[in-house]
Symmetry: C3
Subunit: 310 residues, 3 copies
């Protein structure tokens, strides 16, 4: 496994291998000494040219627990690139001989582009409205843990499907693993042709979540609501597409509730549900570190370097 | 010892234990190899949601010298929390299995609040106008080093007492350790009821520092001076409440001068005094690293993990 | 070797020693495990009070590959110093017992100033319009690698010579090593008295690069062009002082092309040349890490600490 650019290029066997490895690292993360020497002497560059504290933190902790040297470059530090092209930035970093470049970028396809030009492994930490594969993998790991499997489950994804790279990667991953994926959201937030990805489309949330094993609520970008937005306001959004106690009471008894975070409490998700017994949101975060450890291990040459040291 | 939330909850025995341990780490910090393996495999998150380069640097160096993995999250990187509540931020970080969360926050009580909701140890690196316990401990360590003891000493704290978490924590720590604490400042900067904390109040600086063994000058927030502020201007402030050579000449021969930094040179403290023989300001900074090493060691499970490795 | 403040104070023997050591580290950087324990237990503070992602990243990677603890303080995080003087900042950092302080500062002479007041080794990572010695050393290392030597070569440096600390350090380093240095640029960008540094001055680029073994194109500060600037506009600049395919075709067959980065593509350097066979720009970046490892090793007490551990 060289890069992790998207769910699109992954086979079911590869996804399963990542999830199995993530389970191992999840166990390591519960130990008093949460560190393995696997990537000692390796350099991981977290190149976040779009702001993201939590994903960057998750990758940084993952790298450090594998004993890699983690170096952060973040776009919000401004002037990061002084007008340099992304390709020049990537080639320059490559010249510093990193083993892995983790890239978050506001342009769809940016990680695929640089992967063609660098020797380092490239991991996509979210590119534009395209993919967010590590989120989909941590979601799949969380579902598998709580349900024992993914195949055959019904998963409802609710929110702004059209602009969500999380939704896109989740649909790809979960349908590959055999789940039945439903999506629901305001008509203005449903992309054209989504059925071709294998998802069933609903314009109302109630039928979408009915009988679902997993309900995944997406974070709504508040700037897409009101005035020139795609939906009147947060109150309306919450009423028609939010998950509150009343709707939650109609779910299957053992349905779990997920959210990629950060939550807009009271908008897409009611606090009572977010903190309720069905919520597995914090397990998602925990698997975030474990899945990223698995990917850094696989892409960063953990296996081969472990052999080299032995 | 689970958390360090404030001086308020500490016993004299606990404070003494921290100071003793800090002396040990202060010695380690003078060695060519300034690193011990105590917190190897532990994760320390420095969550600074209020800007502070020097305290963050001090904690980061302390964590690294104990071999912990240190991860910085700083609020000035903006968008840190994307409107997320502090509780959600804390729970999310907890899900990444840190051992210690060091929190600086503009709201009084923030560390106490998150400590109730996370498994990690929480260290208060300054909360609103409430407490700054690591500053008080490093101040106590510095005084003890120079005076051999704290009990029985007279300590004068001068400046904006009302808005200073440093003053509050220092009063608590030093009175617990048996010092006589005097405070002095403009009437608008003296809090109501401070005598109940055990301090003697002066509205003029001269009698406050007369005969004192320790004179601690606080940094004045320049925005509190002038126009709508609590005192006319910096020149007046300096004249009435600053420590210049003339006032310094009236101090006890062996009195030491302290300041939590950064100094407004020429305002609350004259350069000649800041850099003079009485000044122990840089010892405070050095003890800052040592005291934080002691606290990370105690809260981060250093002792138990050392045992686990043996 | 205590500090690295500039090329000015270095002997040819010292420069050669640094370049030889850089070659060793360049080799280490090609290994699967790119890490040596030399600076274990040492603290390197990267104090960048002027924004610079790439130089900071290069130093950070260099420090980590030597197993030092690297701590970044960057001015773009704002409020870094809260109005504190540079001297106070330096003394405070010194009190935290770092082994090396790497300083980038907008004021010429800042590193020399703090070096007088701290025990730590100081490395100049660029000071105002004065020097950028690590850039000159990596340039020399790159030239030596590609040409086998520096002495006797003709090196043309083209661009805004007057405002470039890179040009200044390069002229000093390369003339010391026996190269013939030519400089070319718009008259407004040529400093008075540059001949005294040993360089030959050209007001047109064509004769400057004719017969040169090395052509070094400087990054033009775009704000110096147009309106109130020193040259009409980017198009004119490119036409008269840029290196495009036509001019490149007139170079010596084995001439190499260099650039300190980041490149303004199409302004001072045409993409076809930047990415062409003559370009050694990415080798410069690679030597950046290696040269900085060499300097951290020499200044950070690598040799003595290695002995102490043995």
């Amino acid at each position: 496994m060289k890069h992790l650019l998207g769910i699109e290029g992954l086979s079911v066997a590869e996804i399963t291998k990542i999830l199995d490895l993530a389970d191992t690292f999840a166990e390591i993360n519960t130990r008093p000494i949460k560190k393995v020497p696997t990537l000692r002497g390796k350099t991981v560059i977290n190149l976040f040219l779009e702001a993201s504290t939590r994903t960057r933190t998750s990758f940084e902790i993952a790298a450090k627990r594998l004993s890699a040297d983690a170096v952060n470059i973040s776009g919000s530090t401004s002037s990061t690139t002084k007008g340099e092209t992304l390709l020049d930035t990537a080639k320059n970093l490559q010249a510093m001989a990193p083993d892995v470049i983790v890239l978050r970028h506001s342009s769809s396809g940016a990680p695929h582009f640089i992967a063609k030009h660098v020797d380092a492994a490239v991991i996509n930490a979210g590119d534009g409205t395209h993919e967010h594969p590590t989120q989909a993998l941590l979601d799949a790991a969380t579902i598998r843990k709580h349900k024992g499997k993914v195949a055959g489950l019904t998963v409802a994804i609710v929110g702004d499907i059209a602009h969500s790279r999380v939704a896109r990667s989740d649909i790809l991953a979960l349908t590959k693993l055999g789940a039945h994926v439903r999506v629901a959201g305001p008509r203005t937030m449903l992309p054209v042709g989504i059925e071709e990805m294998g998802a069933t489309v609903f314009e109302r949330v109630e039928p979408a979540v009915e009988g679902a094993d997993v309900v995944m609520m997406l974070r709504i970008q508040l700037e897409r609501l009101g005035g020139a937005g795609l939906f009147p306001n947060t109150r309306e959004y919450s009423r028609y597409f939010g998950l509150g106690p009343r709707l939650a009471a109609t779910l299957k008894p053992d349905a779990i509730v997920m959210h990629p975070g950060p939550i807009n409490r009271g908008v897409e998700l009611d606090p009572a549900v977010a903190d309720g017994a069905r919520s597995v949101i914090l397990d998602q975060v925990a698997y975030g570190v474990a899945v990223r450890m698995a990917l850094l291990y696989l892409c960063g040459g953990g296996a081969s370097s472990a052999a080299a040291e032995a």
